[in-house]
Symmetry: D2
Subunit: 355 residues, 4 copies
């Protein structure tokens, strides 16, 4: 069994995965991004300290290219891959599908027609989009607000929260994989969409700082785009690019074009998390019945980012989708169903018939 | 969702698969081997007659090549493939692993040290190997008998049962995919293994018949090979070739070389069914703990061929392994786990903290 | 095992209970009210016709007194009693609690603050109170309507439905256990409560009919009583008397006295079914969290009468509470948990220590 | 909710029960035998120290008589009683069966025809009968040895183990509820049974000690009685009296009178624990299928005394049977099944039909 994790992947989650694999009796081969191999080694030392038999886990320090070669040379029963969709597909092919995937998410939230607790909902939205400067696979990438919320000044509320963030109190973080140039280019492209509008942010942070240029240091940013632009082939890929940084797209819908929103959600290829902020059961049922995201938060407190400590965490709608966090997830990913039929007693006078 | 089934696949099992997929709410694309497309069409007509909405299922009549092309042009969320391991691997690569597989089995039975009910066990062994002339993915391909059974004349018993079989009363069937030439060549090759011995059969049936030459018409056959020949690289592939016909390999072990048998079982790549005919709990535990077959019959009545009507049916030890028959199997193959978290009440005085 | 059922108990439910008991392997002794013994006998004949071994069930034709004597003379492991609470308590004492009980219900419905689909909700309310002239253990005995529903003319709506009912089209039934005198006395007593008011009904049916006087033939009736009268010791018992006929009590509450309603619900001793007609999750949570009824319908479509074909059916909040209808209910009532621990292998070198 | 525990009941088990009740949200009233009230109070102080809200538990210090009076004055939803069957029946009547019971056991073990690991099985037998001088509700009260075990000198083996026990190393304990006089009288009565024989023990301990006379200080004792004496009405009650001390009855059976043993087991009224020491699946099935004990250990390592830390612990075959130890047991005893049906969406054009 093999676990592959990227460098920006929280080590406590790697730990969850490694322990799940061990619990199910697997021998584990662990490979993380070489940038964080040192950290992973400490994790392994901790496991050994806690009593893990040394031979139960193999830690491999190497780059992607060598790892791919290694994968072709050994016959792993299962590989759990966490990382980008691009690498996921490459490995799926290489491994003939003997893989479970926890890949990136283009996670959406929809605010239903029933406006309530607007401060709280705005706060959760701010957290989902900008905590850790948006560097979570479950970060809120796009928000669809019902007209009622827009009328209730929801966008102003999230702007107020965003503008309270600063590098000083660590509510803004350096961006590990997108530098300012790349972020600015993306925002500029979004703003060229017809009807698009910068709600806030849209530039590097103004505070003095010493974040190196290879990393990003960018303000929490929201770009409004009209609903119809999602349906434009030209803009669709641009809008639905997952930015591993503090940039989200927001849009507005109303009672008359909710079907348009559903079509947009159906067009997203990655189905990791989603939030439906509403307490209206009819609305919740409509959205839940027409979407397939793996982790779907529903109810007025809905978020897009949660934690595998609390519940199953993983994408949905793909037979390769992996899960982490719960006993069910551990059994699903790290074991196989096996049916043992016990049949110990031969009835007297059983008639023998050949067929 | 797509279901692909071979021509020698029982249609009642295709029906189970189609209905499982429909129960879970999928739109099904069904493709069976073009030789039996006509039968499959009748099956679909029956489903429609029973009330299946016409648009819930698409039946595709085509050959393998065109089907492969089709698969690359449409974006199926899941494909269930039943058929040979070779095609399974090809499709796995093509579909990037978005597949569940029910492939061929090289199914083994082991008779434990405790000899009991020898007539019954011999009868089950005869059925497992020769019913339908061995044309089941769960047919008994190899039998390991403990010395105690050999001493008790177990091989004579199965010979007696085999020799009662005849085309006339349908206890011998035409062989659909192996003709007599191919079967004879295989048997002859086995007999060249050092120490090998023909126990019975080993030639075409002698009764007059009108089975066309493109099909096989062959006697129930058992070839004894010594345990050590499995470990010879030269013979391993030969011995472990699944014959979709009435040919089985048998061997003998004793208390001193049970570990050798376990190593042989571990070397088998396909893990569909297995039987452990013994009522000794220590022996059962030893074998069960060291093997991974999907459907494992244990106890003195153990068989290798059972039915998905009774229990989960599918291989094990591979993340792509599919299952049929039980509610659990249907949910496992035809749906995805989705975690809906409902969170409807905002506690009073909840403190808001940005991070 | 023993099943005791009253005369007004639907035989198809007795059948469910008998079959549940048989499925779990019990030998059943069945006793129904002597008035319907003839019907029960037909049921048993049907079971025998369907293949039930004759000795699996004993049918006892007798009256209550003799049955009680019988119960003291034989050592039944379990008795399932369906009927009045009074007899249930008597038998509980007699049988030292080796009993499960499905007794009467004083079933309530509460309409939440969110008025919606008023016609439908009124229709369900009409059905719950007056179908079969209220002769169901799950009939709606009391209704608490939020002021918003009263303002929306809910009481007028249920009056309209009630007045459409007639003996002619069988939407009014003869009342088996309460005659007109008893029903009229009860309604008159309710109307003496300070602030009480007759909403509709309140007299025998006016159509010509030939229902004998020993049975009731009474109009669908609703008596409004103020919320505060429930809390009066003097009126509480009167109001909460279960009328096995077409008489319900209705009352009104508002946002300020919902706690009063909860206290009233807590005061009810019988907790069979309940309905909370609301789609407001906060309201639903509040009521659900503070009540213990066994079968609780929640949501705008909530009813008080459902069917054991669909879900577990039984009271709650009492260790003697039985359940019918689901596999879980059958196992709970008709079998006992038994823990079989299998321990077959003695580890080598196990150290023996006496203690 | 109320928990009643006897003085010789391990406090760690009371703790398990109290916590189970609290976990399920009950308010607990705890009453233990007044002799150990001081210890129970310490347990409650510990719970408070660990964070239990003070008002979640009421500790009552009182004698049985006052407690009974109290029970009639308050309306407890459920009482869990641990103690003698006599008091259990009394309380069942008093509480109309609103009770769960963990009462005494007359626990049996049967050694199957397959002799194996005789030292180990004898050791377990010694532990089951004499650990804590037999003062466990799960202590082995009677042992049925197959002739094969008797021939293999099993009785000599258990005698050797028993004679190693001494007060000095605490492998013999003072007996809390039976003094030497009472124990001696019981043993003497047993020895008057025709064919009875003292295998070992049968007198007070010989070591010097300072155990007060009100307690017992008695040697591990085994009395052999012939199988047929169980069936004698005269002796049955005597033999099946549970001695809460170091006295067990042993007997012998063979292949021809196994049905006699099954009839004897069926005659035991208390069904707490049992052990079937055999690895023969046919024998195990026969005994398991014909007995109803709550905790049944099967397999060559079978014991009669286990621990609720490991599995469900409780009697079987009585609707009042309680369970402790597992999540299932906690839910079964300390909560009630409640079925909440959610029904939130009214289909368009639903046709309204009165009935």
């Amino acid at each position: 069994m093999c676990i592959i994790a990227p460098f920006n992947f929280p080590l406590e989650i790697s730990m969850l995965q490694v322990m799940g694999a061990l619990f199910m009796g697997n021998k584990v081969l662990l490979k993380v991004d070489s940038k964080v191999s040192a950290c992973a080694e400490e994790l392994v030392r901790l496991l050994v300290l806690c009593g893990m038999p040394k031979n139960d886990l193999i830690l491999v320090h190497t780059n992607g290219e060598n790892m791919e070669y290694l994968l072709t040379q050994i016959d792993l029963r299962m590989t759990l891959f966490t990382g980008s969709s691009k690498v996921a597909e490459k490995l799926s092919k290489l491994l003939h599908g003997k893989i479970k995937i926890e890949d990136a998410g283009f996670d959406w939230k929809i605010l239903g027609p029933d406006v309530d607790d607007i401060d709280f909902v705005a706060h959760i939205s701010d957290q989902d989009a900008y905590a850790l400067s948006g560097q979570k696979c479950s970060a809120q990438s796009v928000l669809f607000a019902h007209k009622n919320w827009v009328d209730a000044k929801f966008f102003d509320k999230i702007k107020q929260y965003a503008e309270k963030r600063s590098l000083k109190d660590l509510t803004i973080s350096p961006v590990m994989t997108w530098n300012n140039k790349k972020l600015q280019d993306h925002v500029d492209s979004l703003l060229k969409i017809s009807g698009a509008q910068l709600l806030f942010g849209g530039s590097p942070i103004k505070e003095s700082h010493n974040v190196p240029d290879i990393y990003g240091s960018y303000l929490p940013t929201a770009v409004y785009v009209p609903l119809k632009s999602f349906s434009t082939k030209k803009y669709h890929d641009l809008i639905t690019t997952e930015v591993f940084g503090p940039v989200q797209v927001v849009s507005e819908y109303n009672d008359n074009n909710i079907e348009v929103v559903l079509n947009i959600l159906e067009s997203f290829k990655q189905n990791l998390t989603a939030g439906i902020a509403s307490n209206d059961p009819k609305f919740l049922n409509k959205i839940l019945a027409n979407t397939v995201n793996g982790v779907t938060y529903s109810g007025i407190r809905a978020r897009t980012t949660g934690a595998p400590q609390n519940h199953w965490f993983g994408p949905c709608g793909d037979p390769r989708a992996g899960g982490i966090g719960t006993p069910e997830a551990i059994k699903y990913v790290w074991s196989s169903h096996r049916e043992i039929i016990t049949d110990v007693i031969i009835p007297k006078n059983l008639k023998i018939v050949q067929s």
